[in-house]
Symmetry: C2
Subunit: 351 residues, 2 copies
Amino acid sequence: MFPFRVVNQAAVEQILDMSNVIEVVEQAYKLKATDQATLFPLIFHEFEQGKADMDIKSGHLTGANVFGLKLVSWFGENSAKNLPQLIGMVMVLDSRTGVPLGILSGEHITCMRTGAAGAIGAKYLARKDSKHLLMIGSGHQAPFQIMATLMVMEQIEKVTIYNPQSHERAVAFAQSIQNTLIDKFVSKYKGDPALYAKWAKRCEITFAATDNIEAAAREADVIITATPSRKPLVKQEWIKPGTHFSCIGADMEGKQEIDENLFAGARLFVDDVQQAVNVGETELPIKKGVITPQAIVAEIGDVLLGKVPGRTSDSDITIFDSTGIALQDLLTATHILREAEQKGLGSVVDL
Amino acid sequence: MFPFRVVNQAAVEQILDMSNVIEVVEQAYKLKATDQATLFPLIFHEFEQGKADMDIKSGHLTGANVFGLKLVSWFGENSAKNLPQLIGMVMVLDSRTGVPLGILSGEHITCMRTGAAGAIGAKYLARKDSKHLLMIGSGHQAPFQIMATLMVMEQIEKVTIYNPQSHERAVAFAQSIQNTLIDKFVSKYKGDPALYAKWAKRCEITFAATDNIEAAAREADVIITATPSRKPLVKQEWIKPGTHFSCIGADMEGKQEIDENLFAGARLFVDDVQQAVNVGETELPIKKGVITPQAIVAEIGDVLLGKVPGRTSDSDITIFDSTGIALQDLLTATHILREAEQKGLGSVVDL
């Protein structure tokens, strides 16, 4: 029998802060790029088409001596049952012995590491002088993308929000997002007044909703997409040279958020080649014959390590296709388990 | 946050008894045969060749409204660290909502459901008048195979044990197995004196070790193989008509316990066609060209349901290739969770 730590959602939220998660996710990408991490095949199962599915993402971080998995299920009709639609669990084990180390609530880990991923794409691929972020999608994930991007892109001074389904929701989002960022993310730094002030100040910028996606896209320096879309929301002809895309929404076959023609001539980076080709934003441009898999310049970890240049000029269009990989979850979870142990958070049970 | 039951190894051992597990595993096979169960692809990863690996088996039992997975890791060098070589966990979730129901220690579940599987193969495929069981392998799994088989095959009056690596261990095993069966399995029925007496009596038969595998195989009616062998231990020419094999050991590429030529002309049944072809005892006879996958008569569930005849004559050689499927684990785990809730066993934590 093994002592085994269970960390629930409240404890995960208490432990994680965005700047830490950005560091952890960068580390995960770097481990992958130095062959200190292996992704296992993705398992995806649809219980009922368009209504309920689950996936199991798993892998091994030799560089951190852990392996494990994240199981996430999505049940679209859960809201009517007073349950969250998305439920996730991360399981971490010691890769030197197979001994289980812990199980953690996975929703907040997923949100945080996904926000970090979009921002890391912008940090390493967008023009340093990028001033205008267009956030497409104003759902649960949008605040995570915005906060993380503001933290790593110091010149951003305006965030425009577009919701393809409801302008009203975009307006409400734009009105509340500053408070949301303070409450959800900046409040974590209360113990460190200088850091708190720094990040709070970073949120004092312009947030505006738009119902004119074309105008917003024409003006944007960085575009982050985080929607469940299955058709392109952004057209190629709107995009000025030098724009960066972090494509977050596409994580299963058939999903697409931006014009496949944008991929021709863009510098394309992914978190994992195989996942990107199978289920990412990269899937359809390949299937439609716009590009071949060889158009992928590299995995993002290679850019972080300086092995491959990201942007090569101010006029490059850069794309980061983030499908979400188990290594992000596992390394974030490992960080949480270490903190939880130090702080005495979570329950320790025998397995 | 969700209340979530953690059932450790001691509680699993307290709850499970072999006759119940045999019923549960039969039920799992039947659900699979009536399309009330889906296996997801098997994930296998070798940390270090021949020294450490792990697999994730997962699936969905619509018929029981659960889905989930079992993660089992094997670290050959753990004994030196005072840790078990095999460590497993089963995770069960509600397939109507995605809500996690529990996590359970997986080792004992695996041992019990594997024992049940071998016995179910014999129950449905061996000659009813089978008197002599040859158990090849005297490791951790052997007592589970023997107990379950004695429970379902009432005519068995002699068990011969062969250990391909050490006759001494076979001798020691044969000397202690009766007590082991009583302690480990029959003692579960202490609360029901009639049942206790019935199963205790079933263990009063002859147990003998042999170092002459040929003579034992020539005489056997039922042969169960549960070794990590990678070469055949049983030759075709030794086997008399009417013999039944339950092949348990082969669960990864390259493993083999019996002569591939036995497959030509045998009635071959499997737990899951794809797993059997990929990693089961069926793998090498196909790769060596002795049979094609079409030689598989059916999955065992079809026999249990009477959809496909098992043995068609007293002279058939029958083979059950049991690779071990997640559905066995998940349904056994679901049974445990139900019992644990009723009996107040395990810890309930928030996830």
